[in-house]
Symmetry: C2
Subunit: 225 residues, 2 copies
């Protein structure tokens, strides 16, 4: 008698399936209110929260935010100080948000009875792990800020291959840095044939209104469909 061949178990599989089921439940809640929901991903310090403050000035009460951080309530506090509805998730060590934590935040903020038109879920500052976890969003978007360098897209293909929107941020620094925006867009296009690029500066406001108009148009399409 030969001993049975040991089966290789992929321990990531059940975690993802459970997450996918919860993401589907979130997606149904989003469809029910008609809000457009974005999963915002970048390195720490690319300017996610600053951009959200800037978007709040354009979108007013149409915008709400779920903030994800390993620790601290700092980002939600900052947004609330700007008059934006914001709920903070502290992941307590986890390197990404998951659909379950988002569902909990939706409950706390009473999302289902909320007038939000654009909900942004700001993920933990991390270009790797958040890309694998569906939160139920309509679209992933990535920020790449000029000081990070123009060589990052092919180093982090999982996220840049999955985004619907690429935001090149801190564009006001372009005269001072050696950063080739065309290279970034070209390398992203080698991974992904369905993303749109915006060049933004939350500091000067450049591009922010155009980006917000795009989001409102995408939201109108949801309602139309």
């Amino acid at each position: 008698m030969t001993s049975p061949t040991p089966k290789k178990v992929d321990i990531t599989k059940p975690v993802l399936s459970k997450n996918d089921a919860l993401a589907a439940s979130n997606r149904a809640r989003f469809a029910n209110t008609g809000a457009l929901v974005l999963n915002m991903i970048s390195s720490p310090g690319s300017g996610k929260t600053t951009l959200l403050e800037s978007m709040g000035r354009v979108l007013g009460g149409r915008l709400a935010v779920i903030e994800g951080d390993v620790r601290t309530q700092r980002d939600a506090d900052r947004l609330r100080a700007s008059g934006i509805r914001a709920e903070q998730i502290e992941t307590e060590g986890a390197c990404h948000l998951n659909a379950q934590r988002v569902a909990g935040a939706l409950d706390v903020m009473r999302f289902d009875d909320d007038p939000t038109e654009i909900l942004v879920i700001e993920n933990v500052g991390n270009l790797v792990c958040p890309s694998s976890f569906d939160l139920g969003e309509h679209m992933k978007l990535a920020l790449l800020s000029l000081p990070e360098g123009d060589d990052k897209v092919l180093k982090y293909p999982a996220i840049f291959g999955r985004i619907g929107v690429l935001l090149v941020t801190k564009i006001d620094l372009l005269p001072h840095l050696d950063f080739d925006v065309d290279r970034v867009v070209r390398e992203c296009a080698s991974l992904n044939d369905h993303f749109k690029t915006f060049r933004l500066s939350a500091k000067t406001g450049e591009g922010v209104a155009t980006f917000c108009d795009f989001l409102l148009a995408e939201r109108a399409k949801l309602a139309g469909g």
Copy 2:
């Protein structure tokens, strides 16, 4: 008869124990050659590779580097072009290095017969996951670049609580950015009572020689002990 209470299994435990055993084996190899080994951790774009190029100009053949990235050989290629001995690890999706991958790189670069005095292991650009995996290094160091913002330390306590060195990088931008270095050092000190801070600019060279002198002195202490 009551059914037995289900046991909660921590699936991270066996992974870490295997990693700890391999890290101990790496540590023995490092002790054998007398090299000082650093585990360099930061967000993408904080300037790790640029700093290493700058350190190569000071340390010459005393320095060698193991580069970690999710994908691409870009960083090792850059360093080799500057005359630095460098070996690339591509993690193929994994968000951090582990001791096993480092052991493999040590084999390829024939580290055990190598004259390296300072070995820097540049981890995957990620402030969260690499902090939990011992590679056998003498010291973890973190870079925080000015454009990332001065609010990051308490958001990523796992890494800032474990470092022996804090490198505040891109310090040449201080006149142009609203960044409070003292706040960063103070918040790091609230997590950690054994780190040393250097303020560096790989662009202007400020602080790089002082940091290299510190590393050579630490290496001499290893030999002395």
